[in-house]
């Protein structure tokens, strides 16, 4: 749904963990609906913290956050009903089969048993998991596991999807599979916030990128803008220049 209202909007988002400095030190984000937005930064930059806050999994100290038109601090249930989340650490049940995972999470998404079964079939098909459907997830390859994680996050056709380093630790082939899936989602109009440490990945998938480092936004723009701001160098160099300059 393309409206003027951003699908994700934050202002001055701050959070610190007890006994540590600020993990987020004023993050501003505005992600137009229906786009793929990259949150790019090195390890420890605050990407996961940002995603967890926006997905209602973590609280924040100050600032404002809105997701799919809902206030994250005040309307958790409203946010939860409209988002999907898939992570670096695929949170699926390893003992259950792929199908059992999908059916269980579909039921917890308040689908009736029959509806849940149909949805599981659909997603297994779409993510090429039909053959492995009844095997325990433990035996899946990294790529299969990630695809299942993605499938689980799409059960309720979320308006906003958070992908936290969806390709970290994957072999090149699985990485391309995940990229294809993200593109397909973008084509279907889902808003995606994708975190990554890989500049190439952000360049390929995202219409805009927010670069973060040590809990702060250090640059924002389209991949082309970010490249030209540092004189046409590639994004890797751009990132180094920008974070060092900050």
């Amino acid at each position: 749904m393309i409206t003027d209202e951003p699908a994700i909007w934050t202002q001055g988002l701050r959070k610190s963990y007890p006994g540590r400095g600020a993990a987020l030190d004023g993050i501003d984000l505005a992600v137009p609906a229906g786009t793929v937005h990259g949150l790019l930064g090195p390890n420890g930059a605050g990407k996961t913290t940002t995603v967890r806050i926006l997905a209602t999994l973590a609280s924040f100290d100050s600032g404002q956050a809105w997701v799919a038109g809902r206030n994250v601090a005040r309307d958790r249930a409203g946010v939860r009903a409209r988002i999907g989340i898939a992570g670096q650490y695929a949170a699926v049940d390893g003992v259950l089969s792929g199908r059992q995972n999908l059916e269980m999470f579909a039921r917890l998404h308040r689908m009736r048993a029959r509806e849940a079964r149909a949805r599981a079939d659909e997603l297994l098909e779409r993510f090429d998991l039909v053959e492995a459907a009844s095997r325990p997830v433990r035996g899946y390859s990294g790529g299969m596991r990630r695809r299942l994680d993605l499938a689980v996050s799409l059960i309720r056709s979320p308006r906003v999807l958070f992908l936290d380093e969806p390709t970290t630790g994957l072999d090149p082939r699985s990485r391309i599979e995940v990229w294809d899936a993200v593109r397909e989602l973008a084509d279907s109009g889902t808003t995606v916030l994708l975190t990554t440490q890989y500049l190439e990945e952000a360049d390929r998938l995202c219409s805009r990128i927010t670069m973060v480092d040590r809990g702060r936004v250090v640059a924002e723009g389209t991949p082309a803008e970010l490249k030209s701001s540092v004189g046409g160098r590639d994004l890797d160099e751009a990132f180094l220049l920008i974070t060092e300059g900050a």
Partner: protein, 276 residues
Amino acid sequence: MSTLTEPTVHGSRITWATVDTWVVAKRHLLHLVRRPDELLGTLMIPVMAVAMFGFVFGEAFGVAMDVPGSEYREFLLPGLFALTMAFGIGNTTISVAEDVRGGVLDRMRSLPMSPVAVLAGRALADVILAVVELSILLALGTLFGWQAHLGVGGVIAALGLLVLLRMAFSWVGILLGLLVSGPEAAMKYFALVFPLAMVADTIVPTDLMPGWLALPAAWNPLSSTVIATRELFGNTAVPATTWVGEHALTMAVLWPVAIIAICLPLAMARLRRLGR
């Protein structure tokens, strides 16, 4: 497929909490079905306990109590039923700690499901498992000559008390699972179940314990359930001399209810705090 569908939520909050609880419980039960060796391992504890305490120590304890071994086993079985309920804490704690670590709990928290069901599902699965364990123990006990003497009503009431105790211990395990740093820690703490299970009127009558142990043993929630179930089964018992012992039936209900009333809200608060 449309990405614009608004989630449709029908039905009342309580109905959904019940459905969600069942879905989560089913997950834990499917684990046992998918890993039958683990189920077998779980069931082995009570079976071994009957064999070890009944026969290895049985004669000696019988001598100490001045009764024949067979009568000691009659005294012992209700103790072992309750002891099995206590040993379940280990499983519960480890399973919850694994879900915290593995991220499944996070995923559930990001869903529009009932928050209490995330944990209550584990408790329900434990209760169902407890019924299975108790059935096996009853069969085994019968095989070894143990009997309930006061009819079906007494048996059902006794089993009800045992299941209630397990539900209370399940909430203790859930709370601990949310507090420990991980499943490894949960396994290391498992030894703590021993004093809970044995400093009680389970295996050794409390009047054979040194005085300083007899008091905590008498006030151990397990003791109330054991004494109450011995009464309901019509099994050999040592006459109670303490206030708690004399009010065992009441206490066997009050203890678990109080434990749940404390642990459930603490566990829910802890679940919310996981998101700090």
